[in-house]
């Protein structure tokens, strides 16, 4: 049998991702593709599966450790027969316990080579870019400088970086925002503590960042979707038989691409120097999905190259995957514009938060039949409220009005989609 070192596979463009769960311990038998550990990235949790069957010889990470692509996480002893053997097979020789269990208190006799004395954590900082004063502060606070990102010039680690590392928060720009003071609610009545879901804990800071950084304006309009709706119903009836649905969202996505192509400022991001606009030549549209665990915004790639049928099928599959909690980092990356639809629930309008670094997001609520004057009489028309939030640093009000109007025009006459 041989020892295989299991490494973190390609997990998208993430580094230093925390381990949130370790599913195995030394001695456990695993089958190929059994989950070994769970990692938490920006908004998704992902499992690292066993590359092949065997027995866990050693676990190299624990909950709370951070890993990147290529980090060793554990060692599996593979035996050729283990591939077929049932997982409960225990005929193999027992494995040595993890090394952490074998470390005993240092005794006089064992400490013969002082060069190998363990130093307290974070004391050997190698060549990190930090001055002696910063190195000293880090030692006093037990901060491992090799794990601190420097915000100073040329990546120099500053005292502030060390202090921030101590409170465990990422560096924040701008003036400190006063905290909401803690209150003892129990004084007023019974309370209970319910932990936020992991998704909420992850999406919270992202939404907060976007809300604080982006000067938001929301523009409201409405589109007459009476004709679209009847066309959609026809398509949907046919689709149902084939096991998928055609929703308004697919049309909104296609219409958005047309409007985005005509207004490239909306398919863009502000460069970090805030002096340039990065225009994107691809059209990946995110859509907000309400899952039992919280909000997720999966991204549909290359919407401009997909038809309504293909989009509808993909939307169905992705939503299903998100609700099941099987979210891979690649599913939620690379968006250029987002749509948040509350149409199935209700409401007359709302102000969605721009999914920064994108610069605009379209919110839609429930369509309502309204009397519309056609020049001679009021006609009952199905009207869809559109709420476009945008980054006012990039987009002006007039442009936003034009964009939204154009979007409405397209959905009012979907024949334009084929032009």
């Amino acid at each position: 049998m041989s020892l295989i070192e299991v490494k973190v596979p390609d997990i998208g463009d993430y580094k230093n991702v925390p381990v949130i769960e370790v599913h195995v311990k030394p001695g456990d038998a695993v089958r190929r593709d059994d989950p070994l550990i769970t990692l938490e990235s920006d908004k998704a949790a992902m499992e690292v599966p066993a590359p092949e069957a065997g027995k866990v010889a050693e676990v190299l990470v624990k909950v709370g450790d951070t890993v990147s692509e290529g980090s060793a996480i554990l060692k599996i002893a593979s035996a050729p027969d283990a591939l077929t053997a049932p997982p409960a097979e225990t005929t193999e020789a027992p494995f040595a316990p993890a090394p952490s269990a074998a470390i005993s208190a240092p005794s006089l006799e064992t400490r013969t080579n002082p060069a190998h004395f363990p130093l307290p954590a974070g004391m050997d900082v190698g060549n990190v870019h930090a001055s002696p004063a910063v190195r000293r502060l880090a030692r006093e606070l037990d901060i491992d400088l090799t794990r601190v990102a420097g915000t100073g010039e040329k990546g120099r680690i500053t005292k502030d970086d060390v202090r921030r590392a101590l409170v465990g928060s990422a560096p924040q720009g701008g003036a400190g925002i006063p905290e909401i003071p803690a209150q003892d609610f129990a004084k007023f009545g019974a309370t209970e503590i319910r932990p936020l879901s992991r998704l909420k804990r992850l999406s919270g800071p992202h939404l907060h960042r976007a809300w604080l950084n982006v000067p938001h304006v929301t523009h409201m309009d409405e589109a007459d979707i009476s004709d679209l709706e009847s066309y959609r119903r026809t398509l949907d009836a046919a689709a149902k038989e084939k096991g998928y649905r055609v929703t308004l969202l697919a049309f909104l996505m296609k219409a958005s691409v047309v409007a985005l192509k005509e207004h490239p400022e909306f398919n863009a991001s502000l460069a970090p120097d805030k002096e340039n606009l990065i225009l994107k030549r691809y059209y990946n549209i995110g859509f907000a999905v309400d899952t039992p665990d919280g909000l997720v915004v999966p991204v549909i790639r290359d919407v401009d190259r997909k038809g309504i049928i293909e989009l509808s099928q993909e939307l169905g599959a992705v939503s299903e995957k998100m609700r099941a909690g099987r979210i891979a980092p690649a599913d939620i990356q690379g968006g250029t514009f987002s749509i948040s639809s509350l149409g199935g629930i209700g409401g007359t309008s709302f102000t969605p938060i721009v999914n920064a670094p994108e610069v605009a997001i379209l919110g839609v609520v429930k369509s309502v039949t309204k009397p519309k004057w056609d020049g001679a009489a009021f006609q009952p028309r199905l009207m869809l409220p559109l709420c476009l939030s945008y980054d006012h640093r990039v987009i002006d009000g007039a442009l936003a009005a034009r964009f939204t109007r154009r979007l409405a025009d397209i959905v009012e006459d979907v024949r334009q989609l084929v032009l």
């Binding site: 013969t112 080579n113 307290p120 004391m123 002696p132």
Partner: protein, 492 residues
């Protein structure tokens, strides 16, 4: 590892109660007194054991300080002589050796008495005597005043230093001295041999040359001042070509006979004279050996290496975790400033502080004429390792200040990491190089790069400017040299 004998029946036989303390420091050189003072400042009850009647160790009493007092005198004499070229001629100097000796001794006395006062102010108990370990928690002291005493300690810091290496084949004679003997200024010999071309030997050679002695230097290796980059040493050697009589490299001293008229020394090797040479004084400066084998370390269970060095970790802990060691006794470089920093680390670690010796550079200075100073990585060492680096040099012939002083033989060299352009080393040869090198030391510790140094305004006209300009040379923006001398990304 030896089994530690923890039964100490002898302690019970003492006529005196042992002195108890939190920390005992063995040796009061710069490392030892710094460790003791820091420990006391951290609130620990501290005892300092020193065999000499005064504090300060070799450095203050018979090393750095007295040698600098004499080198200063030598430099002024040299400068005065030099002024002859500029139209100012002084009378030939008269040397009153006993007055010079008294001047040097007064300087030493001033500093050592200051130390005693500082020990008192910190309530550090100084015990004069020779301390040796009896077990992991006791040191026996053979008191200078007679009798013995014991110290019972929680933690100990060994700072017992080093001693000049003797050459066993040399006869015992008052004219054959080590650095301590040479600093005592017993005479101004007509002919003097310095055995060993290291920093200590060459500093003493510089002093005696200024006093009028004709000096030969003999060195076994193929170069002087081992450890310094060769380009620095070459500049020194060129300036000193006429100061010394003979510099014999790759040559060994094989024997010496003490006759009444002189010490006759036999040599062997590349530059050896054909017959024995007569000298009025012979200085043996072939290095220093640590005192690790003289302190009863084995009784405390401390591992001592073959050459008398005590191995320590980066908190200065020996193989016995509550006993620390610092300074010359733990390894090269044997320098007071290294020992002081190690002493602070040991004292802080003994007081339970989170601390570690993490210096990225330890400067070395030869207080010769011109001075040579270097710190961080050296060019020669990196070439040997095959490490990629970049370098920039500013020659002092382009320094207004150096020219004004009539001393433009030097240069300033900075060494950079090839990737990050951070300063990782540097060397200076020239007047006041030892004072100038501190800027390079700070640059290395701060992780500064060439731009940081070049963009820092240095005062004009100074020698320190040459460091800023070396940074500019690297960047290619120096306007005090021809454009072709500029390197780097912005090269004209």
């Amino acid at each position: 590892m030896a089994v530690v004998d923890v039964c100490v029946p002898e302690i019970g036989d003492l006529q005196n109660e042992p002195i108890t303390c939190d920390v005992v420091v063995l040796g009061a050189g710069p490392g030892g007194y710094s460790a003791a003072f820091r420990a006391a400042d951290l609130g620990l009850k501290t005892v300092l054991i020193e065999r000499n009647p005064v504090l300060g160790g070799v450095c203050l009493n018979v090393g750095c300080i007295p040698s600098k007092a004499l080198l200063h005198v030598a430099a002024v004499m040299e400068d005065a002589r030099h002024l002859g070229k500029h139209g100012i001629t002084f009378a030939k100097p008269k040397i009153d050796l006993s007055a010079l000796r008294a001047h040097k001794d007064a300087i030493v006395a001033k500093l050592t008495s200051g130390l005693s006062a500082m020990a008192k102010a910190r309530k550090v108990q100084v015990v004069q005597g020779t301390g040796t370990f009896r077990d992991p928690h006791h040191i026996e002291i053979a008191l200078a005043s007679g009798g013995t005493s014991f110290v019972k300690f929680e933690k100990a810091i060994i700072a017992a230093g080093s001693e000049a290496i003797r050459l066993p084949f040399l006869p015992v004679d008052a004219r054959i001295v080590d650095s301590t003997g040479a600093l005592a200024l017993p005479q101004v010999p007509e002919r003097m041999l310095v055995i060993g071309g290291g920093i200590i030997g060459l500093e003493m050679a510089t002093v005696y040359a200024a006093l009028g002695t004709r000096i030969d230097v003999v060195e076994m290796l193929d170069g002087l001042m081992a450890g310094a980059d060769r380009d620095l040493v070459r500049a020194w050697q060129k300036h000193n070509a006429s100061r010394f009589n003979r510099i014999m490299l790759k040559t060994k001293t094989t024997a010496a006979e003490a006759r009444t008229d002189a010490i006759y020394v036999h040599f062997e090797g590349e530059a050896a004279p054909s017959s024995a040479e007569p000298y009025d004084m012979v200085l043996v400066a072939v290095g220093r050996a640590p005192n690790g084998a003289r302190i009863g370390a084995e009784k405390a269970g401390i591992t001592v290496g073959d050459h008398g060095f005590i191995a320590v970790d980066r908190q200065m802990r020996t193989s016995v975790p509550h006993i620390f060691a610092i300074g010359d006794i733990v390894g090269q470089p044997m320098l007071a400033h290294k020992a002081v920093h190690e002493g602070h680390v040991a004292a802080e670690a003994a007081a339970g502080k989170k601390t570690v010796f993490d210096a990225r550079q330890i400067p070395s200075v030869a207080y010769t004429d011109p001075e040579i100073a270097w710190t961080g990585r050296t060019e020669d060492e990196m070439k040997k390792e095959g490490r990629r680096f970049a370098k920039a040099v500013f020659p002092w012939v382009a320094s207004g200040r150096a020219i004004s002083m009539g001393r433009d033989e030097g240069f300033t060299k900075l060494l950079f990491d090839a990737e990050t352009h951070q300063v990782i080393g540097g060397g200076i040869v020239g007047k006041h190089a030892g004072d100038l090198v501190s800027e390079i030391a700070l640059a290395i510790e701060m992780g500064s790069d060439a731009t940081d140094i070049g963009k820092t305004i240095h005062p004009h006209p100074t020698l320190s400017e040459t460091i800023g300009m070396a940074g500019e040379v690297f960047e290619g923006v120096c306007t005090d040299l021809p454009p072709s001398a500029n390197l780097g990304p912005h090269r004209p």
